[in-house]
């Protein structure tokens, strides 16, 4: 198809022709086109269907405020719904599909909604789909979602990368139009570090869309020259395709740079988009203004647009939506479109001006004091009906109608810190209020200064103000001569009609809906918005809000400023979720930490599980084993019978040094550490200040002034943070230093009756491993394998004779291989987290399941460990009423009366035969497993006064799984209660 509506000149590169597809049709366009301009060039006005009534809609704007022309851009995994055709840069091979229509854009079966529109007025959903409540989720919502909607997601993984970055500057300038360019030049030439960001791919803002000359140059030429000048300054960063979408605290701005959106696929190694966090000392908002429509009957036909958009398409993209064009305006600016069109060779132009004193022209026909009464054309405008000033109707044939109701400053970012705009009568619009985000000033059209000269001047002046704040000397640059026309506007919001006149085209809100909302007492502007959906969705009412407020004010008999505005919030324009996620996708959302034996464990075919950030071996399946329990049971039995090895590197390690190290630990742990001899390890229980248990672990005293503290895997970071808090904030004068050494040491548990024999083959001969020389709870620094420094701890989580051996991390892989090799003669077995868990439950040792943030030392049966002879964190509040009642929960063991029954974690405990109600609740099960040593399931749990109820048979209920049977309360130490094994 030919580009039948293409005009001469424009800022497109005709030497590059791109082929693209919209729905099933192929078209041609040029480099520099947007999807919207290329479609218009090809005579396509129908671009979408409306949200609710499926009315045919065309493009209304030439910028990011577009409500109608939303398409699904690209296909496959890269498909992006709700993309504005007005901002999508054309590239060769572009694919776009229209949305919200079936079976085709021109024939949409759901258009029947439009005929039924009297049923779908404001509040329709709320009134119709009220009852029964259960129907909402299953029946109503899916139907509504299918019928009313926007584009659809690809539901596939996005193949492109999104990135995040940080930028810092003295001055951020938001918008690269005349005000922004003047500000950037002034600040840049004066030596400030400047970032100039503009959402467009061409710097220049409206200079590229207008026909004004600047000092003898065309607007676009001047903008290009200034853009190049700025680009050459080392202290200025010009960022096109970058939308500053939010103003945050302390001069921080969020900006999205669309690095590759204009390409079919991103260049190798380049992200699709970057979310920049820009920290600025000062910012100047030069975001321009948006033209607002006038509301009249059937004002939504394809071909009816902002007057300024028609001019933009003609001047920048050399496109006219039609050869016969009418303009409907209430201000002088509308006439510019007419004269620009005539200059471009579109000479069948009529202007209908609501003002009786409208300027006349010899180039085009002017109807002063007329209004538009009706329009015609189902899939595109064909004719308008004008109500003449002295009565009567005139029909005008036209394929496009430009509407100009005046301009609204783009104040959005000034409101992101709860600032409220104020009404300005001269422009009949809202301008930024007093309370701006910290460090922000506003210049140009965004501040209600609409002339090009005014924009240049206020931009340069704003920069000068900023420069003196920053202590820099501002240079005064000559400004080019350019137009300085006053904004002459006579407010005119809507042509009254009994039928439907569209205020918000994206949400299908009519003037009638606003009146209805008022009638039904939704009078606050915030209620109006939510009841009618005016100003919602992707365009956030950029073109519709003011008309809505004006009509509301009219029905309420008040003024627009009295009606007020809704709050603008970030983001300024729709922002892809992908850019917020950045690289934090899938396994990249957080680091994955691997233990030193990970590679070795992989070679053994280990199954891994997440523990905190770590991946730890869960079990090590042997050939023929089909169920994890088989592997786990074997690992447990073999460890208890001979020897097993487990990587325990992930447990937190904190090195504590200094002459006050013991006194410090005395404060941090509830039990005493002052008298722990050198060469000994002690179990330590750490409380929060509120008396609840924070964590447990061991502290080994390697020297008078040197301890090694261990923490649970999950709490390693939190405990370190807490210990630093105690050190710096509570005892700043103690001589003690802390450092986390978790990743500095590879540590393995070697457990089982043969563990000593195995270690004997590893530890260097000078070191005496005998029970007498190195008893239970001993620790030492030693050497292994002929001189490698190592630390040895005789501690046991499994309940067996056991050691933990630590070497510098880089030797971890070698050590596990050496240990396994040396252990062959004992049939050594590696064991994973499942076996570790079984053995600790058999032994009655607590883990995070028991230290669950609600339990105290008393609950855990360690109440007497809380020393009353010294100060320690949490000791005072551990005695507060409510934590020390006689029937407090106590840790107990549980075994099923019928040995076949499981005892699932999470189940609740009741007095035997009591009804399973919350008021009868006596406690709960925290940890459970099958004990291969005992041949039945066992569990740990908390039971009211449990320590005094050993032997009692109680009820166990799990309503979720339907379990309800009896268990016996026993000691939590199922195995070797006297601890003979670990002392062997």
């Amino acid at each position: 198809m030919s580009q039948k509506n293409r005009l001469d000149d424009g800022l497109i590169d005709r030497s590059e022709t791109f082929s693209f597809r919209f729905d099933s049709q192929y078209y041609k366009g040029h480099k520099g086109d947007t999807l919207a301009s290329a479609l218009l060039a090809n005579g396509v006005r129908l671009m979408g269907r409306s949200f609710k009534y499926h009315r045919p809609r065309g493009v209304m704007t030439a910028g990011s405020e577009e409500p109608n022309a939303l398409v699904e851009l690209r296909d496959g995994a890269r498909k992006e719904p709700n993309t504005r055709a007005t901002t999508a840069e054309l590239f060769d091979g572009l694919r776009a599909e229209s949305q919200n229509r079936w079976p085709s854009l021109a024939f949409d079966a759901m258009e029947v909604n439009d005929l039924l529109s009297s049923f779908f007025a404001a509040g329709f959903y709320y009134k119709t789909f009220m009852w029964p409540a259960a129907f909402w989720e299953k029946i109503y919502e899916p139907i509504i979602r299918r019928a009313a909607g926007l584009g659809s997601l690809s539901t596939r993984d996005h193949p492109d990368e999104y990135d995040k970055g940080f930028l810092h500057c003295d001055l951020l300038i938001i918008g690269g139009g005349p005000a922004g360019l003047a500000a950037a030049l002034t600040a840049g030439e004066s030596g400030a570090r400047v970032i100039l960001a503009d959402e467009d791919f061409l710097i220049g803002g409206r200079l590229n869309l207008e026909s004004h000359a600047l000092g003898g140059m065309s607007g676009p030429a001047w903008a290009a020259e200034m853009g190049a000048r700025l680009g050459a300054m080392p202290n200025v960063r010009v960022m096109p395709r970058t939308t500053v979408m939010g103003a945050f605290d302390h001069g921080v701005y969020g900006a999205v740079e669309r690095v590759s959106d204009h390409l079919k696929v991103p260049e190798d190694g380049k992200p699709r988009q970057i979310l920049w966090r820009i920290t600025s000392k000062r910012a100047i908002l030069c975001a321009g203004a948006t033209e607002r429509p006038i509301v009249f009957e059937n004002n939504d036909r394809p071909g009816i647009m902002q007057a300024s958009a028609i001019r933009a398409y003609a001047n920048r993209w050399a496109v006219t939506p039609a050869r016969q064009v009418a303009i409907f305006t209430n201000n002088d600016d509308g006439h510019r479109t007419a004269s620009d069109l005539v200059a471009k060779g579109v000479d069948d132009v009529s202007v209908i001006d609501t003002r009786t004193d409208a300027p006349s022209s010899s180039d085009y026909n002017v109807i002063a004091g007329g209004v538009i009464d009706q329009t015609w054309g189902r899939l595109g405008l064909t004719q308008i009906e004008v109500k003449m000033p002295r009565g009567g109707i005139r029909r005008i044939k036209c394929g496009a109608l430009g509407v100009s109701g005046g301009w609204n400053p783009n104040v959005h970012l000034t409101c992101h810190q709860r600032g409220r705009p104020v009404w300005n009568d001269a422009i009949a619009g809202f301008v930024p209020g007093e309370a701006l985000p910290m460090g922000m000033t506003v210049a140009g059209a965004a501040n209600g200064v609409f002339s090009t000269h005014g924009a240049l001047k206020t931009g340069a002046d704003a920069a000068k103000g900023v420069l003196s704040d920053l202590g820099l000397t501002a240079k005064t640059l000559p400004l080019p001569e350019t137009e300085d026309a006053p904004a002459r506007v006579t407010p005119f919001w809507h042509v009254k009609t009994a039928k439907r006149a569209w205020v918000d085209q994206q949400n299908d809100v009519t003037a009638k809906d606003i009146k209805l909302a008022h009638q039904e007492n939704f009078r606050s502007v915030e209620h109006l918005k939510r009841y009618t959906t005016l100003g919602m969705a992707t365009d956030q009412g950029k073109t519709s809000n003011i008309a809505g407020l004006a009509i509301m004010a009219e029905v309420a008999g008040t003024s627009i400023p009295e009606v007020g505005t809704t709050m603008f919030r970030p983001p300024y324009t729709p922002t892809a979720m992908g850019v917020f996620a950045g690289r934090a996708r899938g396994t990249e959302t957080r680091p994955t930490r691997l233990t030193p034996s990970h590679r070795w464990a992989e070679e053994q075919g280990a199954v891994f599980t997440e523990a905190g950030l770590w991946l730890r071996a869960q079990w090590f399946p042997k050939p023929g084993e089909t169920h994890w329990r088989e592997s786990c049971d074997r690992e447990v039995l073999q460890t208890r019978k001979s020897v097993g090895i487990c990587d325990v590197t992930s447990l937190g390690k904190i090195d504590v040094q200094g002459s006050d190290a013991a006194a410090f630990l005395n404060l941090v742990y509830c039990n005493g550490f002052a008298k722990l001899p050198v060469g000994k390890v002690r179990y330590g229980l750490m409380l929060r200040e509120d008396g609840i248990v924070m964590d447990d672990g061991t502290a080994a005293r390697l020297a008078e002034d040197h301890f090694i503290v261990t923490t649970t895997t999950g709490n390693a970071l939190g405990v370190y943070r807490h210990m630093e808090f105690v050190r710096q904030c509570l005892c700043p004068d103690m001589d003690v230093q802390l450092i986390s050494t978790t990743e500095a040491w590879a540590q393995f548990a070697v457990a089982g009756p043969k563990s000593r024999a195995l270690l004997h083959k590893i530890v260097d001969d000078e070191f005496d491993l005998s029970n007498a020389a190195f008893p239970f709870m001993a620790c030492a620094e030693t050497t292994i394998c002929g001189g490698l420094r190592a630390r040895l701890f005789r501690i046991s989580f499994s309940g067996e004779l056991a050691y933990e051996i630590a070497v510098p991390t880089r030797y971890g892989d070698a050590l596990i291989r050496r240990l396994m090799d040396a252990g062959k003669e004992f049939d050594v077995v590696p064991y994973g987290l499942e076996a570790l868990n079984v053995m600790r439950i058999e032994k009655g040792h607590a883990t995070a399941n028991e230290l669950n943030g609600t339990t105290t030392a008393l609950n855990l049966g360690m109440g007497r460990m809380v020393s009353k002879k010294k100060d320690s964190i949490g000791s005072i509040l551990s005695e507060r009423p409510g934590l020390t009642e006689a029937d407090a929960l106590k840790l107990v063991g549980l075994k099923p009366v019928d040995p076949e029954n499981p005892v699932p974690a999470g189940a609740h405990l009741m007095t035997k035969d009591a009804k399973a109600t919350a008021s009868n609740d006596q406690g709960y099960v925290t940890s459970a497993c099958y004990s291969p040593n005992l041949g039945h399931h066992i569990a740990l749990g908390f039971l009211k006064a449990g320590d005094a109820r050993l032997g009692e048979v109680i009820g166990l209920v799990s309503p979720l799984t339907g379990i309800n049977h009896d268990v016996e309360v026993v000691s939590p130490h199922f195995l070797d209660p006297k601890g003979e094994r670990l002392r062997a």
Partner: protein
């Protein structure tokens, strides 16, 4: 937000972990007659001012120092940043 660390200069707040009211520096005497009452107040009673607030931040992804940050809770403006250890010593003396 940018927190100007006394030694390391301006740092992004994402490097820090927030704890809360800096009155936590003023831990009661465990041997006081009304220690339980004092500790209960220390642990649970906090002012919640709209305006200046002294609060504890931990430079976890930095030098691991605890800082007392004076911040306006209305504007998030940060007025002062001090080492918590210096403040704790001052409280003690």
């Amino acid at each position: 937000m940018i927190i100007t660390h006394p030694i390391l200069g301006p740092r992004d707040s994402s490097e820090f972990v927030y704890l809360g009211d800096a009155t936590l520096l003023d831990r009661p005497d465990w041997q006081a007659d009304d220690a339980l009452h004092q500790f209960t107040r220390y642990q649970h009673s906090r002012d919640n001012p709209a305006g200046l607030h002294r609060e504890l931040w931990f430079h976890e992804q930095g030098d691991r120092s605890w800082l007392v940050v004076t911040r306006d809770t209305v504007t998030h403006e940060i007025m002062q940043v001090e080492f918590a250890s210096d403040m704790a010593r001052k409280e003690r003396s």
